[in-house]
Symmetry: C2
Subunit: 358 residues, 2 copies
Amino acid sequence: MRTIGQMARASGLSVSALRFYDGAGILVPAFVDPETGYRWYGPEQVQPAQLVAGLRRVGMPLAEIALVLRHRSDAAAVRRLLDIHLRRLEDGLADARRELSRVHALLDHEENPMTFARNPTRVTLVGADLAAAVDCVRFAVSIDPELPMLGGVLIEVEDAVLRLIATDRYRLAVAEARVGYVAGPPVTAVAPADLLDRARALLDGDGEATLAIDGAGISVEAYGRRAHGQALENQFPDYRRLLRTGSRQQVTVNVASLREALAAGPTRSVVREQDGVRCDVTVLTVDADGELTVGTPDTRDAGDQLRIGVNREFFLEALVASGHGQLVLELDGPITPLAVRIPGNTQTFSILMPTVLS
Amino acid sequence: MRTIGQMARASGLSVSALRFYDGAGILVPAFVDPETGYRWYGPEQVQPAQLVAGLRRVGMPLAEIALVLRHRSDAAAVRRLLDIHLRRLEDGLADARRELSRVHALLDHEENPMTFARNPTRVTLVGADLAAAVDCVRFAVSIDPELPMLGGVLIEVEDAVLRLIATDRYRLAVAEARVGYVAGPPVTAVAPADLLDRARALLDGDGEATLAIDGAGISVEAYGRRAHGQALENQFPDYRRLLRTGSRQQVTVNVASLREALAAGPTRSVVREQDGVRCDVTVLTVDADGELTVGTPDTRDAGDQLRIGVNREFFLEALVASGHGQLVLELDGPITPLAVRIPGNTQTFSILMPTVLS
DNA sequence: TTGCTCCTCACGTCACGTGAGGTGGC
DNA sequence: TTGCTCCTCACGTCACGTGAGGTGGC
């Protein structure tokens, strides 16, 4: 048996951390002397302690470390948890690079506003690609007059990528378009819905389109015609934080048959908590085999089932925007966002906040 | 003028964050109504607020954000602060990959201790390279009997790199050796000083050496002879956290003349706080032009000067271990570790805790 | 006996978020 | 007048670190 100090030296954890982990139930000593309160650790506790030390060093939250310890015998489960955390770190670094280049642009702008205004960022791409991206996100634009900045689509230009993002707080859609050519620094701007619609009307045709952003103004030019407008001033919410969920349950579905099932299936009428609006909710059930059922199945046995409520109209709109053929749904829990993805296209998708079922 | 809510929407910061930044002096409103306490922000405060939002999203501490805001007009200074932070994030990810592969090894070990024990990690490299790496760190091994785990050298094997680390809490030395071939998973182990010395004695010659580590045992084989011993059981301290300092003041020096100056120069006798040991301290002075002087210079004008006290013996040992020719010293402040680097070799260096001058 | 190790409990840190309870302006 | 926005102040969160004040074991 080891004292707390010996354990600290063996594991690389501090004495105060070990005491804290005892209190938190993460690493409870094998024996605590009832007289003196001295903590005594067994030799088999050294490895778990080293494990905790290593995971804390890489910033894994204690709640997840507790999961790792609990499922230590299940190598696949542990590997999944570690991979999710590593992905989180990788995404964090990618986000940071993006943010920092944005900060550089902000400072450059401040330093030299004139030069900047005369040099908008200009993106050239196939008109149909831009049209497709718009169609993938347009449905998720908010019409709530109290949230004006959500009444637009966030446009992100970086390196050789154009990304459109829309959300109304109940759902979020992201689309990436391949671009031919980018001139100018990476920028972000929020295009109001009406500008987007005017731009979209230009894009039915064959050929190239050009998107230009200079901070205050956004313009789209295609086939000789041009739509122009002012960007919305307010900051778009930080959508990336919403996308940090490693998914366990993935279900592949056929869009046409799912749409049919949704239209025919039962719904519940639920009053939305946030704003009191009444909406029709479809209950999706995934059984232990990963089989998806629309509407509550007959069997009342809810043992291994996962049941998720979604706004039917919103779900249908997400399906329509995702095209035809096959789709992948990611369902992780009754309060985890449901993701609708096109197989093989990781950059264009939408997510939907589920409705909590009473 | 904008209210706090409008400012929040314009900047992407939350209302509570804005209130907190007011209290912390990071973003103080242009005007506060003395009657109502209402905060009013001017239009010129939107950009700084967006800047703060972006930097917080990437995890920059508020203290550094305050620096960025203060030196906003100095583009080079800002760029340096942002680069330091990005490097910190990149290093964090690299560390995390290392840690996680170590965690995987730990779990594999636990799952299958037999297979593991029969498959040590084996590194093959040029004997002289291993000898050089040992010579670069040997001086920094602790002889304090109260800190047994510092009486050894941390060996890290990963991918195609062998790294040796030694520290006695007053200084730290890191050396990397090129390796020819690695078999087995990445490992770390602490080799006691006597094993290291026995191994070093084998390495004077021409040819290949092999280092084998199996968790408990460490052996070095070279030119038909072999040194073997047990690894120290306790965890080596997390040395990487000490290395996260972006340096401003870099001074290139000639080793021979610096050694001469040190030997001849004045010292002060200082009693070390930590253990009460008396030692000779040399005062290094760097003036505004980056000129290094050993001992206190005549001019009493300490305006732009940086003065750092170092243990002379320790500094000499670090210089000897770094070879001949040119060296780069990194001096950042009277309480920031002083780094001794070989130009062009970023992976082998030592750092020295300065002595606080009264 | 000295000096180290251990104990509990309270409070501090960092960057906010979350109410409670109350006021101000359209 | 209603409903939103703003205010302060206190407390919570996360994962510990840091004393204060006191005990235990070689």
